[in-house]
Every structure is written in structure tokens, then in C-alpha cells.
Amino acid sequence: MTTITDDTTAAPLVLADSLDLTAAAPLAAELLAARGKPATLDASGVQRMGAQCLQVLLAARALWSSDGLPWRVVDPSPEFADAAALMGCPDLALATAVQD
């Protein structure tokens, strides 16, 4: 599941194990720094995710979408998928890009 078949050149952004409250600000900063390039997020190591990181990810996804750049989450861990579904946005964990 690590194969990236797209034309993405940027190295995947590896999400932290624990996407809790304290991880929100660094995550936002990291994403903002990565703006302007297609985003590939490696969610394979995520053990938990809270609502504040979800906020950041959703806002980032919207931003990439408005920038017209691809946004991907690859290899989501079951925990990541579960947390996303729990918080009402199961599509966040979908590996395919969502252009909305």
C-alpha cells in the first residue's frame, strides 16, 4: 500500500502517531509549509486522532482543493480510518483524492 502511482514528486508527509490536541498546531504549520505542492499524507502510523487535528486536515484538504492541487491520504491505519469515521468524515481516510 505504499506505492504511489501518481505524478506526485514531493515526499509524503508522514502524520504523527498521535494526532491529539498538541499535534494540531505543528500539523497545521507543516501543512502550510507544504502548500503549493501536491500533498501526500502517510497516515499509516496514526494511532489516534482527535477533533482538532481533524479540523486541520479538513481545512487543509479544502485549501488544496481550492488551490487545485491533488490531496491524498495514503495507507491509512485502521485507527486513523476509524477515528475519521467516528467523527463523521469517513472519506478523509480514503486513499483516493477528493476534489471538493
Partner: protein, 724 residues
């Protein structure tokens, strides 16, 4: 102490307060208090205990508190009426809750069977539980349901689209306090089938986003048999840090997709929310008039909203007002009190030296000293007030005791308490609990007659035990009175003879016989009962009261009941005293006991033979007691005209005059216990240190009066011991 243990300790302290609040509220409701705030306070108490217990994983406590809280929530929302029966169950549940708290605190075991029994009783109170068809007795309620076309289907009705819609929007504070929306959603998921809808409409662009703010909101549909309480419980720790709305699914459905469910009569449609509302209203016994009797079905359809569903936020416990109190380690308070005591003594010594140095009264030094004295006094009063507490904290343990003893003995008892607000030093309060417990047990077990006997005596079946507290003569007087048969003196005497406590031919007054029950080894119960006969008797009670510098007396009237009166010092620290001299000794008489002082005239004093004298004060004669003789300072009586008489009033209201040589003055003295530093001396209550550094004894006026009159239990005891 490690921090967690300290927090845990604080939790248990708070539990005690909450339990007291709970019991008070329930008792107030039992007495007819219908203020919604009282119900809220009761609910909050249980809710807080549960919340804290949850944090410490005290599962048994949480479980029971939950059932309890559910019943209270029903009451709070008006679905359960606070009838006497219901309140009795709730009071017993409060007892069980207290047991659980105590068990959790000291690791002791709880009576599981009793807990389960009470939990069942509580569940049975819940009208929702009844509608769910779990409780067979719930069916009786349906018998009264007059709405014919629906009555058959009612029990099945809640099986329909039961569920809740939970709208939840966290505020930033929720996250700041380390709570997590995801966990709350997960908890909700445990209550039943959930559908989560995320509302991210408030989410700004990433560039604008504050990562620690809260932008998301959720709407969760929970289906299944979860009740509102359990849903709200999920959010109990984030109360106030989120916007929360819980509405029944049926009511939500009624707004738009109203389901028209044909019932028996196919011509009529029925709204499930309205039906539930009607059912709940009918199930509510005391206000049946709220339901239009046998209203036609269309009327029901016309009222789709569930009137009993709480409006927004009502289901949440109101935040208790922030109490303006702090907890202080008792040791610090005691240290402060000690120091203030020293300050008082020091200030008195300083005054004395200034006086001796010959400063004029109007001099700056003397005036400054007066101000210092006033200030010292205020400081002292304020410091004493820190330790003073209302006796309520002891009194409120008694209703439970009464309930239990009443149940064990099969005697219906009503406990009446008065003067709970009477304040007394914390040490006194703490040491009151045991003697009071014992006395109340005794009053019910031995004092009150069986209902049959009461009926035969023309008394109401329900016995009354009265527990009162009041300030009197600078002391606190606590009475435990029952309206039972009074002391059976013949029986008491024969038991005392049988046990060799008195000689068979001893001639005893009624009072002396009554006082026999305070003798060590005396117990009237011929069989040791579970309740009061534990081998310790009233002698233990008396000893513990005496150890507090108090006295206990008994008065009994055959057929009318007995009254035990305890008189205790308000504080064990200071006293306003009149400093007197007797035969060269300086003594202190508590000022609160002194009614007036007078210089006896020769014609007013009469001898009654022996050394007994009386003095005429206006229209009455009162005994004149020579303090010097009573305490053994002199052998012969002082010429009354050479001294000063202090007219005093004892606890029973009896007056006497104490003859002393002279009055030195009046001042506040710091009490130093004689028992603790030396031993108990009859006639002396304590000692103090005067301004000149000398020790002065504080008179125990009641004992002096009683000893001099020869009617004292102390002397009776001596005599009995001599005869026995």
C-alpha cells in the same frame, strides 16, 4: 501525600458534603418543600458524587449513583412525583450511596444484596422503566389509562422509533481542558446505534485557522433504548464547555417526517410523541388533572410536542455557585488558635504591667493598650469562629440512624431536630457523634414502646424522638427526648440490685434511680440486642460527655417519656470570666452563668441548720454557697456581709448565690484543660493563666451548686457505691 491521594481525599470530603446536601434536600422534600431548586440540588449532589467516582474508577459507586440519579432526573423533569413513598425510597438510597462512598473510602465491603434491592426499587420508580415494560408493576398504571383506543398499544409504544438526536458543538475550552470530542462520540456509540453527521461549515481556511480553536459540530442520532440521562452523562465532564442539545427522536420526527401510525381505530392517526406525553402525564399520580380526562383522540394529535421533554439545557445540572470557601488544614487553624490564646495572655500581662507602671488611664500608652485589647478580642472571636461549626453535621447523621433502628425494632419513629444551626467548636462536634448515636438508639430501642403498647396508652403509633440544640448559659445544650413510656424505675432499681450496684435496702429518690442507668455495668436490656446492648451503656456516654467538659442529666416522666440533656462548653479554648478571690486564691467564674452580683446584708442571710444558708434576693430565697468551703479553702463559713454574692443560674434554671471574698474584675481567659495537664477535679472546670502569670482555676459552677445541694448524681453515685 502523593497528589493523587490528596485529590482522592478531597473527593471524599466533598462526597460527605454532597451526601449531607442530598439528605437535607430529600428531608426538605419530605417535609413538603417543592422548590425545583431543592430537587436540582439533590440531583446535583448525586451527580457530582458519580462524576468524581467515575474519575477514580469506583465502579460500584458509579453504578449505584447512576441508577439513583436516573430516578432523580425523572423527578426533576416532573415525570416522577415526590410522594412520601418515593422519598422514603430515595432516602434509603441515599443511605446506600453513603455506604458506597464510605466503602470506597476505607476499602470496606458494601452490602451487595441491599444495594441490588435498592437499585431495583429505584428502577421501579422510573416511569420510563415502567413504560419499557420491564417492570410488571408498571402495568397497574395502565389500568388507570382512560384513553380507550390507545390503551392496549401503550406498553408497546416506546418500542417504536425510540432514540435521541444529540447536537454537540464543543467550545475551545473543551479541548483546552484535555477533553476530546472523538472520545465523547465514541462513548455515545456505546449507547446504541449511532449515525454521526459532521458539520464543518464553521471551519475557516487553513491559513485562518487557529489549531486550538473549536470549529466543528456534530449531530448524532442515537437509536436504541438509551435514556436521556445516560446520553447527558457522556457529556457530564464537558458540561459548560460545549453546546449540547438532546432531543427525543420522536419529537424531532414530529416536526417534519411525522409518522402517521394507524392504531386500533384505523380512522385515527396517532403521534407517538403526543402519546408518550399523555402516558407520562397519566403515570404521574398526584396531578391527574393535568391530563384532560378521556380527551378525544384528535386533541391528542393536535399536541405533537412532548410537554414533559425538558427544554434546552434543563437536563443538565445547573452549575453549583462557586462557594466562597477554602479548605484549610485543621492543624493550621489549631496552631493559629493556640497563638491567639498566647496573644490574649500576653496582652493581659502587658496591660497589667502598664497599670503597675503607673500610667494614667488617659495616657497614650493606656489608650493604645485599650485599642490593642479590643483588637485582640476581635481576632480571638474571628479565630474561634473558624473552628465553630453548626451541629448540623452531626445531627444530619441521625435521620439515617433513626430509619435503621426503626426498621430493626419495628417501631415507627419520627425524628424531629431543632437548632441544627447552633454553632459549637469542631472538636466538640466531632466527639458528639458517638454519644448522640448511642442515646438515640437507646431512645428508640428502650425509650419508645411498641406500636401496640402505644396504641393501648392512647398514643399515636409513631413515636417521636426529638433532638434539639441550643445555646444556654454560654454552653451548648443538646437534648434527646422521646415520647415513650419513661424510665421504668422499679425495673431499673431491681436490675441495679440484681447486679449488685446498689444495696437492696437503699432508699433512692426517683432522680437517683434514673441516674443508675449511667452506672458502669448497667444495661436494662435483659437480652443483649443488636441495637443498643453492646456491653457498653450510658456510662460510656456519660464519660465521653464528661471528657468534653460536659454533663449529662436525665429527666423522666412515667408514660410521657424521657429527656437526656447534655450540656457542653461551646469552645474548649476561651471563656469570659469574672475573676474573684476566695481565701487568697484567685478563681474565675464563667460570666455567662452570673445573673447579678450583690453585697449581702446581714438581715438577708438565714441559716438553715448545719452550714446551709439561704439568701433573700428580692422575693425569693436562694441557697448561699460559700465557694471557699465548697472547694475546701477554709473550714468555717465566711461572714456573708464580708463577701460578695454572685447570683448564678444553672443549666436547669435553678438559681443559687455563690459567696466569694471579693471581685477583682472581668476578663476573657484562655482555657487550659486541667484534665489534660493534671486530672479532673470536681468543682473545677479548667484553669487559666492570668496577666500576672499566675494560674487561676475556673469554677465549674453547676457542680459546685449540685454538690452543695447534695442532690448531685456525683454524690448519689458515691453513696450508691458506698452502699453497694
Amino acid at each position: 501525600m502523593d497528589p493523587l491521594a490528596a485529590i482522592r481525599e478531597t473527593f471524599f470530603q466533598e462526597c460527605e458534603e454532597q451526601l449531607a446536601e442530598l439528605e437535607n434536600g430529600l428531608l426538605a422534600m419530605e417535609a413538603g418543600d417543592t422548590d425545583p431548586e431543592t430537587i436540582n440540588a439533590v440531583f446535583r449532589a448525586v451527580h457530582s458524587i458519580k462524576g468524581g467516582a467515575g474519575a477514580f474508577s469506583l465502579e460500584a459507586l458509579v453504578r449505584f449513583a447512576h441508577v439513583f440519579e436516573t430516578a432523580l432526573d425523572e423527578m426533576r423533569s416532573g415525570r416522577l412525583a415526590p410522594t412520601n413513598e418515593v422519598l422514603k425510597t430515595l432516602l434509603r438510597a441515599a443511605d446506600v450511596l453513603a455506604d458506597h462512598v464510605r466503602a470506597a473510602h476505607d476499602g470496606s465491603a458494601v452490602d451487595e444484596a441491599h444495594t441490588a434491592e435498592l437499585a431495583e426499587e429505584l428502577k421501579a420508580l422510573d416511569p420510563n422503566g415502567a413504560t419499557a415494560g420491564e417492570e410488571s408493576e408498571g402495568e397497574e398504571d395502565w389500568g388507570d389509562f382512560e384513553f380507550k383506543p390507545m390503551s392496549v398499544d401503550v406498553p408497546a409504544a416506546p418500542a417504536g422509533p425510540s432514540g435521541w438526536r444529540v447536537s454537540f458543538k464543543p467550545r475551545a475550552d473543551l479541548y483546552a481542558k484535555a477533553n476530546e470530542a472523538a472520545l465523547l462520540l465514541r462513548e455515545l456509540g456505546r449507547l446504541g446505534q449511532t449515525t454521526v453527521e459532521l458539520d464543518a461549515s464553521g471551519l475557516p481556511a487553513l491559513t485562518e485557522l487557529d489549531p486550538e480553536a473549536a470549529y466543528l459540530a456534530w449531530t448524532v442520532t442515537v437509536t436504541g433504548d438509551a435514556d436521556e440521562t445516560s446520553i447527558r452523562e457522556v457529556f457530564e465532564f464537558v458540561d459548560g464547555d460545549c453546546e449540547l442539545e438532546v432531543s427525543p427522536l420522536a419529537a424531532v420526527a414530529a416536526e417534519g417526517e411525522a409518522s402517521a401510525t394507524p392504531v386500533e381505530d384505523p380512522g385515527e392517526t396517532l403521534d407517538i410523541g403526543a402519546l408518550l406525553a399523555r402516558v407520562q402525564a397519566v403515570a404521574e399520580p398526584p396531578s391527574p388533572q393535568q391530563v384532560p380526562p378521556a380527551a378525544p383522540a384528535p386533541a391528542a394529535v393536535a399536541t405533537p410536542a412532548d410537554p414533559s421533554s425538558p427544554p434546552d439545557g434543563q437536563g443538565q445540572p445547573r452549575k453549583p455557585e462557586a462557594g466562597a470557601t477554602i479548605r484549610v488544614d485543621l492543624e493550621r487553624v489549631d496552631r493559629l488558635i493556640d497563638l491567639v490564646g498566647e496573644l490574649v495572655i500576653n496582652q493581659a500581662m502587658l496591660s497589667q504591667r502598664v497599670m503597675e507602671a503607673g500610667f494614667a488611664r488617659a495616657s497614650g500608652v493606656a489608650m493604645g493598650l485599650d485599642e490593642l485589647e479590643q483588637l485582640t478580642r476581635e481576632i480571638q472571636d474571628s479565630v474561634m469562629a473558624i473552628r465553630a461549626q453548626p451541629v448540623k453535621s452531626v445531627f444530619q447523621r441521625m435521620p439515617r440512624l433513626v430509619r435503621e433502628v426503626a426498621a430493626m425494632t419495628g417501631k415507627p419513629v419520627r425524628l424531629v431536630t431543632e437548632g441544627e444551626g447552633t454553632e459549637v467548636d469542631k472538636t466538640v462536634i466531632e466527639r458528639l457523634a458517638d454519644p448522640l448515636t448511642h442515646m438515640i438508639r437507646n431512645a428508640i430501642d428502650h425509650g419508645l414502646e411498641s406500636p401496640e403498647k402505644r396504641a393501648a396508652a392512647g398514643k399515636p403509633a409513631e413515636g417521636v424522638v426529638r433532638l434539639t440544640a441550643a445555646h444556654r448559659s454560654g454552653r451548648i445544650v443538646i437534648e434527646v427526648a422521646d415520647d415513650g413510656g419513661g424510665i421504668n424505675r422499679e425495673r431499673v432499681k431491681s436490675i441495679a440490685i440484681e447486679k449488685g450496684l446498689v444495696a437492696p435496702d437503699a432508699a433512692l429518690s426517683d432522680e437517683e434511680i434514673d441516674n443508675l442507668i449511667f452506672m458502669p455495668g448497667f444495661s436494662t436490656a435483659s437480652e443483649v440486642s443488636d441495637i443498643s446492648g453492646r456491653g457498653v451503656g450510658m456510662d460510656v456516654v456519660r464519660r465521653s460527655i464528661q471528657a468534653l467538659g460536659g454533663r449529662i442529666t436525665i429527666s423522666s416522666r412515667p408514660g410521657k417519656g424521657s429527656t437526656f440533656t447534655m450540656s457542653l462548653p461551646l469552645t474548649l479554648a476561651v471563656l469570659d470570666g469574672m475573676v474573684v478571690s476566695v481565701q487568697g486564691q484567685t478563681l474565675v467564674a464563667p460570666i455567662t452563668a452570673i445573673v447579678e452580683t450583690l453585697l449581702p446584708k446581714a438581715g438577708d442571710v438565714h441559716s438553715l441548720g448545719g452550714s446551709a444558708r439561704v439568701i433573700a434576693i428580692r422575693d425569693t430565697y436562694v441557697p448561699l454557697i460559700d465557694v471557699g468551703m465548697a472547694l475546701g479553702y477554709r473550714a468555717g463559713p465566711l461572714d456573708a456581709t464580708q463577701g460578695v454574692a454572685l447570683l448564678i443560674e444553672g443549666e436547669g434554671g435553678a438559681r443559687a448565690a455563690l459567696l466569694v471574698d471579693a471581685i477583682q474584675g472581668q476578663r476573657q481567659v484562655v482555657i487550659k484543660s486541667l484534665e489534660a495537664n493534671y486530672r479532673q477535679v470536681p468543682g473545677v472546670a479548667a484553669a487559666t493563666i492570668l496577666g500576672d502569670g499566675r494560674v487561676a482555676l475556673i469554677l465549674d459552677i453547676d457542680t459546685i451548686v449540685a454538690v452543695s445541694r447534695g442532690a448531685d448524681s456525683l454524690r448519689a453515685e458515691k453513696r450508691l457505691a458506698a452502699t453497694g
